[in-house]
């Protein structure tokens, strides 16, 4: 199974980005092969509106079935839900820490969006 993390960097030591819609990159980690790929989220960063929606689409297309991030707004949450992707909010500092928390079963699945949408 694949898990997506929001980040500004491109490896597991990189900080976990608390923003979902406007996170610069996603690290998609494959639990089966213990490998990861970095997906550029630039198109969403420059979107006039709907960055969260577009980011959610990007995550869905990556094949990830879970997303670990800081905060997630209502529109993005709706898209992720429709795509069958579970959302986990965390305050972990790095992607690696967040992954460890996930493996240890210490993250709880979010049932709703945890912030208001930023609209644009």
């Amino acid at each position: 199974m694949k898990i997506a993390f929001t980040t500004s960097g491109n490896d597991l030591n990189a900080p976990l980005d608390v923003r979902f819609g406007r996170a610069p990159n996603f690290i998609v980690y494959d639990l089966d092969t213990e490998t990861f790929e970095v997906i550029d989220n630039q198109p969403s960063l420059h979107a006039a509106q709907g960055a969260g929606i577009q980011s959610a689409e990007t995550v869905a297309r990556s094949g990830a079935k879970a997303l670990v991030t800081g905060h997630c707004g209502p529109r993005a949450f709706r898209v992720l839900l429709a795509a069958g992707i579970k959302v986990y909010n965390t305050e972990a500092y790095t992607v690696g820490e967040a992954l460890a928390l996930y493996r240890a079963g210490k993250l709880t699945e979010a049932k709703t969006a945890d912030v208001e949408g930023h609209w644009f």
Binding site: A47, A48, Q49, G50, A51, I53, Q54, A56, E57, A60, R61, R75, R78, V79, A82, A83, W119
Partner: protein, 274 residues
């Protein structure tokens, strides 16, 4: 003649100028309140409601039976108002600009458009003034389509005054499109001058003839007048700083009625513009 009253900065007296101008005019006139986020002209003109209609924009509705989840609609939409990846598309009506593109690109013709409410447009008759005002629903972000709905009520051949929203961005531009003349209202303060310069840049970009009304003359300094002289901009009218004007305004009274000595000022402005 279609005249718009605008200003870079809010609260300079734009609505005051628009409603008093309309009231001082001695013939039939249309007044369109295009400040749909905060429509205030109707607070100063008590009239008989003639008509009320709901303003909408077309947003997509997906027929699930026809949709095969190809995702073309979602790839096309620049606003991320429709999203699809294999399953039935999700629609976000509040993000939609109503361009109709998704329905046009859908290869299976599975998308039709339905009306999504933005606000109301109301017409009121106040003596010789036909007031049309739009009121954006709270929580709705998109003002320009509602402004277009207000402007659709313009009747040919009848003079009109448009009360524009403040600023220089999309709602203002939507209001100013197609008008013959713009009156820019400002006040003689540093904020007033700065925002006037932005407004002048905007109307010049749009290529519409314009002039300036300076409100509350006496509170500030000469810099607005100096700027107008340097730039060869006509100062059409000066309204003095008079606490009685501010008080009459606070009660929702028209200057030309509460303080008849100022009526002459507005007649001069009519002479120069309408």
């Amino acid at each position: 003649m279609i005249l718009a009253v605008a200003s870079g900065k809010g609260g300079t007296g734009k609505t005051t100028v628009a409603v008093n101008l309309a009231r001082a005019f001695d013939r039939e006139i249309q007044l369109l309140d295009c400040d749909v986020e905060e429509p205030n002209a109707q607070l100063f003109l008590r009239g008989i409601p003639l008509n009320q209609e709901i303003a909408t924009i077309p947003v997509p509705l997906v027929n699930e039976n026809l949709c095969d989840g190809c995702g073309e609609c979602g790839r096309f939409c620049e606003y991320h108002a429709i999203v699809s990846f294999g399953a039935k598309p999700l629609v976000f009506p509040d993000m939609c600009h109503g361009c109709g593109g998704c329905a046009k690109v859908c290869p299976r013709k599975a998308i039709r458009e339905i009306d999504n409410r933005l606000g109301v447009v109301e017409t009121v008759q106040a003596g010789s003034i036909t007031l049309v005002h739009g009121c954006l629903d709270v929580g709705v972000a998109m003002a320009p389509p509602l402004i277009r709905a207000v402007k659709a009520h313009l009747k040919n051949g009848l003079p009109a005054i448009l009360d524009a929203p403040p600023g220089t961005s999309c709602p203002v531009i939507t209001t100013l499109r197609g008008v013959d003349f713009v009156v820019l209202v400002t006040e003689p303060t540093p904020f007033g001058l700065h925002d006037l310069k932005l407004a002048v840049e905007m109307v010049r970009e749009l290529g519409i003839p314009f002039g300036v009304v300076v409100n509350r003359v006496g509170i500030g300094d000469e810099r607005v007048h100096e700027y107008c002289r340097e730039q060869n901009i006509t100062v059409l009218l000066e309204i003095p700083d008079d606490r009685r004007i501010a008080e009459a305004y606070s009660r929702g009274e028209l200057i030309v009625e509460a303080l008849p000595e100022y009526r002459e000022l507005f007649l001069v402005l009519i002479e120069k513009t309408l």
